[in-house]
Structures are given as C-alpha cells and as structure tokens.
Symmetry: C2
C-alpha cells in the first residue's frame, strides 16, 4: 500500500503548486489567505489525484489534466468551508475552521472565490493547449457535481430529526453530497485524457463506487475501530445523532421498543458511552453493520471490475490498489 | 424612453422562462423555492437584457445567447443573496431577504446552487447548437467576473470604517463589486453573437462605462433627488455611513474641521436629518456632487462613442438609449 500513499503524495505536490500559482493573484490579501487556508492545512488531495491517475490510465497527457484536477480540490474545499458554516463546525483538518479564524462573511466569500477559481482554472487549460471540447466536457462535469453537492447538503439538512428516511433517499442524498464529486473527478480525468464515451462512463462508475465505499467505511470504522486508531471515542457519530447507512438500515429493520430506544439514543444530545454501546448492539442485532460492510466490499469489487476496461498500466494498478486502500485504512 | 422599458420587459420574459425551466429540476423543493425566490420577486433583469441586446446588435443569433444571458442574472442573484447574509440586510426587492424567509444555511446553499446553475446553463447552450469556442469564451468571461465580485466584496468589507480610502482604490473596488458583471454581460453578448475581438473588447468597455455611471447615479440620486421619487429619506446612504465616490472625493478635498465633521457624521449610527444635510453641504462645498455627476455624464458619453463600432440597427439604438436611461431615471 505504500505505493498508493507515495503516488498520492507526489500528485498532491503538483496540485498544490498549481493551486498556489492560480490563487496567488487573489486580492485583498485577507481573502487570499482565507481561500488558501485549508489547502495549506493539508488534505489527502484524493479527488485531484484521482483525476490525474485516471488521465494517465486512459493513455492521456497528465499535464493537460492538472488544472482540472486542481479545480476538483478547490470545489471540495469550497464545500467544506460552506458546510462548516452551515453545520457550525468549529474544527477542520485539526485546525479551527475558516469562519472561526476569520468570520462568517469572510468564510462565505472565501468559498465563493474558490468556486469561481475552480471554473477559471479548468478554462485556463484551454489556453495551455488542452483540447477545447474536452475542456467544455470537464466544465459540464464539474458544474453537474456542484449542483448535486448543493442538493445533497440541502437534503441532508432536511433529514435532520427525521428518522423515517428510506435507504434509497439516504443513498441518493449521500451520493449527491459526497460521491458525486469523486465520480466527477474520475470522469473528468478520463475526459481530459481523451478517453472514449464508454471509458468516460466507466470511470464515473469507478469514482461513484469507491466514493460510496469510502463513505460507508468512514461510518463503519466509527463503530468497529478502537479509540486509539480512530483518535476519537467509538460511536461518536451515534452520540451526535448522525444519519448513516447503519442507522437507516437498523431503523428500517427494528420494530417496537428496539426502534423506539434507538431513536431515543440518536435524539439524545447527552448520550453516555453505555447508550452508544447499546445502539451498537442494536445495529448488530438487526445486521446493519454487516450489511454496510458487505455493501462497501461489493462496491470495491465492482469498482475493480469496472477497471477491466482499461489497458494494463502502472496507473491502472494504482486505481486497483486505491479501491482496496479505501477499505484497508484504519482511520 | 418607453421603448427601452418595453424592450427590457420583453427580454425579461424570455430570460425568466429560461431560468424557470432550468431551475425547475432542483430538489429538494425547499432549495428550489429559495433559489427561485428573488427571481420571482422581480428584478430589472438589466444584465441578461444587455447580453441579448448586444448579441443582436453585433449581428448574432439571440437564441444562442439566452442561456448565457440567464447565467448573468443567476450570478447577480447569487451575489445579492450572499451579500445580504454578509451585510445582514433584512430586505431585498421590497421583500424579506432569503436568509430571513428561510435561514442562513439555506440562503448560503441557494446562492451556491444559483452559482452552479449559471455555469451549467452556459454549458448547455453548446448542446443547443451554439459555437463551442464562443461558449468556452463566455464561460471564461463569467468566471473572471465571479472572481472580481468576490474580491470587490472583500475589499468593500475591508474598507469599513476606513475613511482614508483613495479614489483609485474605491473605483477599483466598486468596479469589481458591481461593474465587472455588467461589463462581462455585454462582453458575453458580443462573444455569443460571434463578434470579432475588437467588438468584444468594445462591448466590455460599454458595459464597464454604463455600469460605473449607473453606480454613481444611484449614489447621486440619494443626495439630490426628493423623498417622494426615491421612496426613502434623502441622504440615507450618508446616515448609514456608506462609502460612495462623493464621500471619497469630499474626504480627499476637505481639511481640518470640515473633514473631521464629515467623518463624525459618517461614523455616527444615529445621524439626524440635520447631520445628513450638513454632510451634503460639505459635499457641495468641496464639489464632490458635481464631480460625481460629471464623471457619470462623461461615462455615458464615452459609452455612446464606443457604440460607434457597431453597424446601425434597432438594437444598437436601444444600447444608445439605455446609456441615456442610466442618468434619466429618478429612482
């Protein structure tokens, strides 16, 4: 797995450089600082790395895809900044969130600026020699993902306190909120790499599948990992009443007093560790942890099947390993 | 002038229809309602009308420019929604602002959604038969304006309470905050109409000039109009301590006790009508009202000169009349 980590690090440097160059012209300085803050705080840079790896795996020129890759990181960062305001989250990437370091108006603007710069960066690749038709398709892919992110966040806020959400509604929401941008990042990599429509569609599916697996694994680790690996108490999502696939599934399967008790624990803003453990027991009783884990496994397997459309290459191998990596991480 | 008003109304209908069709797919419903709210509340639709009139005036096909025109209205609306949150303004277009009808998170998201949809709408015109190279240039024009809007709003917030702002800094800020989008709207009209680079640049200048004249006239009417025409007390900008060209100019010219008194009135959140009248007297003493008015007149004259690059047509005549209209309106 160290290969994957190294590849991510290498691509991360290229993307950070492109972002710093492009955002370095923003004025006034305060807006530039607020816009650059989360990128400097360090992120996994998973989305832009995926764009570049896919561009290479389909036989394209990675250089043409750098700006597009960076754009996906900018949109991801924009959504983190605005989400943190909306959800009133004080911390991000181990540091105070943008609206805490500055204020809400500056954070709203920093997000808007990143959003604008994302589109501008993709457009600039046209001047740098990329195929104009591909640039237009990459822009369409990004814009589509942006609409979905907003819709997903709105649905998520709408679901708050609603414990009757169906699995399909939940999956649709979580795809829009987090999966759509990952799928768009891999699709845009294929587009900028000059792939044909069949490969472009396959790469969208690959991104969608590992995106969903990534999300499920995040939620799964919260209940099955240990406090040391996780860096936070087990079941903290349950304590916060967060909606996850496991919650949705358990609530769909449970009846009578079990269901009532689970809703009670999720609603309680002062849940104890005993309450959380009780909820995890109920997840187990109704098979929702296994269900989620199996779905993540199936997604990863399907993602790897999808990759068979590609000719063998180092980058294809990285994509295979990335799919496994999603489930092998411990935090 | 009734001609201009009728033309604006006619184009407004076309643009509203395009916006309603495109935004009608947004879900959940609440996000769609919040996103559509200000468009339904009615606006002058000046920016999209300019795009369409210019597209026609350069000899292009208006149909190709409808989505691009709509995109400029969406970005304008996005910036109003986010500005109202940042400035904590409760009212917009005679109705409670979006974050008052819903809440701040929904308003942030509605703005983000309009922003995403703006880019998506321009991209869609490619599928509707518009020239792909023009579509890419229109997108670049919009993205550039979006970055400027953010920078302008950030500068404006940064100027708050700073009464040493130079005229050039102020003009740069106000161009980015309001003029850049109008200039981009006229430029994009020329692009989508298939104009050559010289005409495209001229149309950008036209938009920039009438945009600046429009802004100055807004501020000018606040001090020279009457309460009945204006629908609000004379000098309400002064009472609010708003930075305008007249303020910047008067502060640059005034010295000693006059300057101190003007700053005092602007800083005072409880200014009386006598205080406001005193400030207007100081504007007059230092010639700042005349200075602003003359600049607006010069802008309109230059805007009309710029139009001479176009062949005669009905739409060219509308652009000429629109330039005059900017200074003839009374509120």
């Amino acid at each position: 797995m160290s290969d994957v980590t190294n590849v991510l690090k290498e691509y991360s440097k290229i993307v950070v450089k492109a972002i710093e160059e492009n955002l370095g012209t923003i004025e006034p300085q305060e807006l530039q600082d607020a816009s650059m803050y989360l990128t400097k705080a360090g992120g996994k840079m998973l989305r832009p790395a995926l764009t570049l790896i896919v561009a290479d795996a389909v036989g394209g020129n990675k250089e043409d895809a750098i700006n597009t890759a960076a754009a996906f990181e900018l949109v991801h960062t924009f959504s983190l900044i605005h989400d943190d305001i909306m959800d009133d989250d004080d911390m991000r990437r181990g540091k105070p969130s943008v609206h805490k370091v500055w204020d809400e108006p500056t954070a709203i603007l920093a997000g808007d600026t990143l959003f604008s710069k994302a589109f501008q960066m993709i457009i600039l690749s046209k001047n740098n020699g990329a195929n104009p038709a591909n640039v237009a398709d990459a822009l369409a892919t990004l814009a589509d993902a942006c609409v979905k992110i907003c819709e997903g966040q709105a649905s998520d806020m709408g679901f708050e306190g609603n414990f009757d959400v169906k699995e399909e509604e939940y999956s649709n929401m979580i795809f829009k909120k987090t999966g759509a941008l990952i799928a768009a990042a891999t699709k845009a990599g294929a587009i900028m790499g000059g792939a044909n429509q069949e490969v472009v569609d396959a790469m969208y599916d690959y991104g969608r599948l590992i995106g969903q697996a990534f999300q499920i694994q995040d939620d799964y680790l919260d209940v099955v990992s240990d406090e040391e690996s996780l860096g936070k108490p087990i079941g903290s999502d349950i304590a916060k009443g967060k909606m996850t696939l496991m919650v949705v599934k358990a609530l769909a399967e449970a009846e009578g007093s079990d269901k009532e008790r689970l809703v009670e624990i999720l609603k309680d803003s002062n849940s104890t560790q005993d309450d959380v453990d009780e909820a995890i027991d109920l997840f187990n009783k109704y098979g929702s942890i296994e269900y989620a884990h199996n779905l993540a496994l199936a997604n990863v397997a399907e993602a790897k099947e999808v990759l068979e459309i590609l000719d063998d290459s180092e980058s294809k191998q990285v994509l295979v390993e990335l799919a496994d990596f999603v489930l092998e991480r411990k935090s």
